[in-house]
């Protein structure tokens, strides 16, 4: 698959305004961004992208950042005039989702960073998404307005009341088209549900409930009810000194509304059935791979910690990411994964240094393509990796301004570990560990991927106009 660049989200100063929407304009001003005036040299911490998510049709792409903002991109409808040019993604709406908060009782500041965004399945003309920071989840409704009524009898065009003596006849107000305005409003705020930091949210296939997981607990919410939630998993020990394991990620099964999985810092996955009990502390299935004795080290546990878990679209498999590998698990086999792919095994001998600089704790995400035949995950040096499950071929690509002008085809990269070195190879020691691709997303149907590289968003698509493998 050859990938070419579609659009690159610019630095904060060059982000540009969302189309219409007073809300978006206000939020940009409040965020202190000077539209289109400042060229950025350094990535501002507030603009570091912290989550990326396509909606169910792939028409919209939402990103959340460290400053609590959500930026939604919309794919332009394909132009009939230029059938070769696929629809590109443009900014659709920008809004401030979360603000920094101060917990007065504990004297703690709650970060506004958006940890996760999940789209709700579309049920009417409006669209909705859930966005979560460390403590609070919000449901945002996104509506479009492209018509407005004109010709009121009692009000004039500016909305001021007319002098009744001037009204001599009645008219019926008519709807006239107007410039598209995108309006975003918070419809629900699910607060006070979590003592610890939220790491995942997942919408149930029943479209009525969703779950939110923090380090020690998972809560089940109803989308319409904000003042209570049900605790469905609690792994907090009676004595905090006995704490040896935390929850790292969780997700509902895509089809079975009673099933969900959660991963742990010890590398295990637990599949739970909500029909079995109200509190799903007891798993239905435990997926765990025994430690490889030849690879044992002090860091075995840290590198086995699962940073992301994703069900396949089919619902038959799960994809997990730990520090050095991505693994595919079959729901019917608990003993070991059915496939293991090395993301950057050349780091295995560097674990001590990576422990020292804390890189070993980085949490990478992973993604399936629409047909579950290719999996993708990020790495260091702005590299990301894709593995074809059928051909067993893999590729390393780079998301950077230098290597991806719009329409330029991405060139595969290679990391050399000594031995024969080809011309464009990068040596392990010259990898930039500050450039990490933690967040990636794959369009649900087409070969379009979104890659977040610090504060830049890259969208790549397959050069060949094909749908799925």
């Amino acid at each position: 698959m050859e990938l070419e660049g579609l659009v690159r989200r610019p630095c904060p100063g060059l982000r540009g305004l969302a189309r219409g929407s007073r809300t978006a304009a206000v939020s940009l001003v409040n965020a202190g961004v000077q539209p289109a005036a400042v060229s950025c040299l350094f990535p501002l911490p507030a603009d570091i992208i912290s989550t990326v998510e396509f909606n169910h049709t792939g028409e919209l792409l939402a990103t959340g950042d460290k400053g609590g903002r959500v930026v939604i991109f919309q794919r332009e409808p394909e132009s009939k005039n230029a059938p070769q040019s696929q629809g590109e993604y443009d900014v659709y709406s920008t809004f401030q989702s979360h603000e920094p908060e101060f917990d007065y009782l504990k004297s703690l500041e709650i970060e506004e960073k958006i940890n996760k965004i999940k789209w709700l399945p579309q049920q009417n003309a409006a669209r909705a998404l859930l966005s979560a920071n460390d403590k609070t989840i919000k449901l945002w409704k996104i509506t479009e307005r492209d018509k407005r009524p004109e010709g009121y009898n009692l009000k004039d065009e500016e909305g001021k009341l007319k002098d009744l003596s001037t009204v001599t006849s009645l008219q019926v107000p008519v709807l006239k088209p107007m410039d598209l305005m995108v309006e975003v409003s918070p419809r629900r705020i699910f607060a006070n549900g979590h003592t610890y930091h939220i790491n995942s949210i997942s919408v149930n296939s029943d479209c009525e409930t969703y779950m939110s997981a923090d380090d020690l607990r998972i809560n089940l919410w109803h989308l319409a009810i904000t003042d209570r939630s049900f605790n469905i998993v609690d792994i907090k020990p009676a004595n905090m000194e006995d704490l040896t394991e935390v929850i790292t990620a969780s997700e509902f099964h895509p089809h079975h509304c009673n099933l969900f999985v959660y991963s742990s810092s010890k590398g295990s996955l637990r599949l739970c059935d909500m029909r079995a009990a109200a509190l799903c502390d007891k798993h239905s299935k435990l997926f765990e791979e025994p430690e490889d004795p030849s690879n044992r080290s002090f860091f075995s546990e840290i590198i086995s910690s699962v940073s992301d878990v994703k069900f396949s679209h089919s619902g038959r498999y799960m994809l997990t990411r730990d520090y050095l590998t991505v693994k595919v698990w079959d729901l019917n086999m608990e003993a070991r994964p059915i496939e293991t792919y090395q993301v950057h095994d050349y780091l295995r001998s560097k674990l001590c240094s990576l422990y020292e600089n804390d890189c070993i704790f980085d949490k990478f995400e992973c993604a399936w393509n629409g047909s579950d035949s290719v999996i993708m995950t990020g790495a260091y040096n702005n590299f990301f990796r894709m593995f074809d499950r059928n051909t067993k071929r893999d590729v390393t690509l780079e998301a950077s301004r230098e290597s991806s002008k719009p329409r330029a085809v991405l060139k595969p990269r290679r990391v050399c570990v000594g031995g024969k070195r080809r011309r464009d190879d990068i040596s392990v020691d010259s990898l930039d560990f500050t450039k990490k691709i933690l967040h990636t997303a794959w369009h649900p149907a087409e070969n379009i991927i979104a890659i977040a590289a610090t504060n830049n968003l890259y969208i790549f698509q397959d050069k060949v106009n094909s749908d799925m493998h």
Binding site: D215, V246, F433
Partner: protein
């Protein structure tokens, strides 16, 4: 380079140098550990690094629990491997080295117990537990005795007896009017453990331990005021 781009202290750089040399020997099972630099020293740098990380993690206003747990577990592994039992291979080195090693281990055991005890005590403050943190009893010498009850217990003791005469239903009634349901601290862990704490849990049981005197005084005023109200008979009685 393996750099986060942050200015690093000199000690950390030296540690990294040591750590990088550690890389070679202890991951390679074929090399006898003793043929390289003395194992205790090499592990010691990793141990020190881990303790440093633990301290740093706990000093955060809200520690990243995953990071903390992973570091603690790694520290335990390192400490277990440093135990002067069968874990270490026989040392044909000059006698000075084993003595040094033993001294290091002895002091590090005591240091570890002390560090772990104090650090876990800090953690329990953050999480609001009142149970006196036990030192990791299975590791090393008994360690230092925990200096009295943790301050959190002290604060609660202050509340308890002083208000005993005002309350009919003991300490639990103390917090009836304060809705702290979102703060899930298990101060009364043994008594309340039958109930799984949840966000909608009864407001009666929780209280953050970090009460300073001003807050205590305020609470006392509120309670005294409330008790006065409760004592007067209601209209329906």
């Amino acid at each position: 380079m393996l750099s986060k781009g942050l200015k690093r202290k000199r000690e950390e750089e030296e540690e990294e140098k040591e750590a990088l040399t550690v890389d070679a020997w202890w991951l390679d099972p074929s090399l006898p550990a003793v043929a390289q630099a003395p194992p205790a020293v090499a592990s010691n740098s990793l141990f020190d690094l881990s303790v440093l990380k633990l301290h740093h993690s706990l000093r955060q206003s809200e520690p990243d629990l995953r990071h903390l747990v992973l570091v603690v577990n790694t520290l335990r592994r390192i400490q277990a491997s440093m135990a002067p039992t069968a874990a270490l291979p026989p040392v044909p080195n000059p006698p000075a080295a084993p003595n040094v090693a033993d001294n290091l281990l002895a002091s590090s055991d005591a240091a570890l117990s002390a560090s772990m005890a104090s650090l876990l005590e800090d953690l329990s403050h953050i999480e609001g537990l009142s149970q006196a943190p036990q030192p990791l009893a299975d590791e090393g010498p008994p360690g230092r005795p925990i200096g009295g009850a943790p301050p959190s217990l002290g604060a609660l003791d202050l509340l308890g007896p002083a208000t005993g005469c005002l309350l009919d239903d003991g300490l639990e009634g103390l917090f009836e009017d304060i809705d702290t349901s979102m703060y899930d601290s298990e101060l009364w862990a043994p008594a309340s453990e039958g109930l799984k704490p949840g966000p909608e849990d009864g407001p009666g049981k929780e209280e953050a331990p970090e009460l300073d005197e001003a807050e205590l005084d305020y609470l006392m005023d509120v309670l005294v005021g409330t008790q006065a109200l409760e004592r007067s008979p209601g209209p329906g009685r």
